[in-house]
């Protein structure tokens, strides 16, 4: 009788990276809650030292609205890091397990696993970078930097690897 198929584990370093990412997400979420006032104070203080970047004019009514909007985005950046890091940690574990088990060819398997791991790990860090950049360079410039340095290359790597993996699984299903 044929043995039922079992999952193969991806390399240990991949699992380690995924677990560390999930730990970072948890710590990030907890820190957001525990140090909310300190983080807001730091962001606000830094924005006030860069008035030109944020278009602050010195009129309280106008400036407060601008600062509030930037602080909402700063908070959103931290929250999105928390959520994406938790999710991508699990996505890395699941998808690299599929790749380790079902991708047979040697150059493709390590490449897909590396793309999924590096892409999935670095992508959420873009939200942290965005949040950190907002007080210094403003909303739009911070977003553009995070987009070109992190989100597009690493998010792109994850998307390419996922579709590649889906293609490999589909091909195995058809050839069976």
């Amino acid at each position: 009788m044929r043995e039922p198929p079992t999952w193969r584990l991806p390399p240990v370093w991949v699992l380690l990276v995924a677990v560390v990412l999930i730990v970072c997400a948890e710590v990030g979420g907890a820190s957001m809650s525990r140090f909310k006032i300190e983080l807001t104070r730091w962001a606000r203080g830094t924005m006030l030292t860069h008035p030109a970047v944020h278009g602050l004019v010195g009129v309280r009514d106008v400036d407060e609205r601008i600062l509030d909007e930037a602080l909402v985005k700063f908070d959103a950046g931290l929250r999105l890091f928390h959520m994406h890091a938790e999710g991508m940690g699990l996505v890395i574990i699941a998808t690299t397990t599929v790749a380790a088990t079902l991708v047979r060819t040697a150059p493709a398997r390590p490449l897909i696993i590396s793309l999924l791991t590096v892409g999935g790990t670095c992508y959420p860090l873009g939200y942290l970078l965005w949040a950190a950049l907002i007080p210094y360079v403003g909303l739009e410039r911070g977003k553009a930097i995070a987009e070109w340095l992190v989100w597009i290359p690493f998010g792109g790597a994850t998307i390419v690897a996922l579709w590649w993996l889906a293609g490999v699984v589909a091909l195995r299903l058809v050839r069976r």
């Binding site: 198929p5 996505v91 599929v98 079902l102 589909a170």
Partner: protein, 204 residues
């Protein structure tokens, strides 16, 4: 050499692992569900990732397209000719369509993972072949739940906000969401039955 029991072909490390990895229970290997289910799980995750990227990178184009679709279906949206009111209607419809895409992104990521992990549990833990097949079908249907949010977004633009949301909820979100809940509940029942069977003292 000492006499060996039949099929005693495992390495010392494997014997140690089997003996120590699951105290109080039987060690099991995590089995792989059928390829078709693995493919659906990976596809749902890939679609979720791509949807999120599209929402982020193509937002102006999506806004333009959504506004154009609202303008092309004035009756469905109750466009009245009053600029202020129509702008409000348009922005609500565009916001709902974008919300649909955003919900699709988050739910697809989650349900792809849920299908991967739950179908692995089904393959590893559920003994009956027919029960396993039924669980695969129901869980896979449940994992397609996020597609309802694409219908939600498109329905809002083509049929108007209320009618579009009702269509998506009644025909896609509710049936597929119910399938996910039913599949997860049935899996929980199977796990409880297995735990109960394992806790019974074995006959002497």
């Amino acid at each position: 050499m000492l006499p060996q029991a039949a099929r005693n072909d495992k390495s010392a490390a494997r014997c140690y692992h089997l003996a120590t990895s699951a105290p109080g229970g039987n060690p099991i290997e995590l089995r792989r569900p059928p390829l078709a289910i693995v493919l659906v799980a990976v596809l749902v995750m890939a679609l979720g990732e791509t949807g999120g990227a599209a929402l982020s990178q193509l937002r102006p184009s999506i806004d333009r397209y959504a506004t154009a679709r609202v303008n092309a279906n004035p009756e469905a949206h109750g466009i009245s000719g009053s600029a202020e009111y129509d702008d409000e209607v348009r922005s609500r419809a565009v916001y709902s369509a974008e919300a649909g895409l955003s919900f699709f992104h988050t739910h697809a990521e989650g349900l792809g993972l849920i299908l991967f992990f739950t179908s692995t549990l089904v393959a590893s833990v559920v003994a009956g072949r027919r029960v396993r097949a039924a669980l695969y079908v129901v869980l896979t249907a449940g994992s397609l739940f996020p597609l309802g949010y694409l219908v939600y977004g498109a329905g809002v633009l083509e049929l108007g906000r209320e009618a579009g949301i009702e269509l998506a909820e009644r025909w896609v979100l509710m049936p597929l969401g119910s399938a996910a809940i039913a599949g997860l509940t049935a899996l929980a029942v199977c796990l409880a039955a297995r735990a109960r069977a394992a806790s019974r003292p074995s006959p002497p």
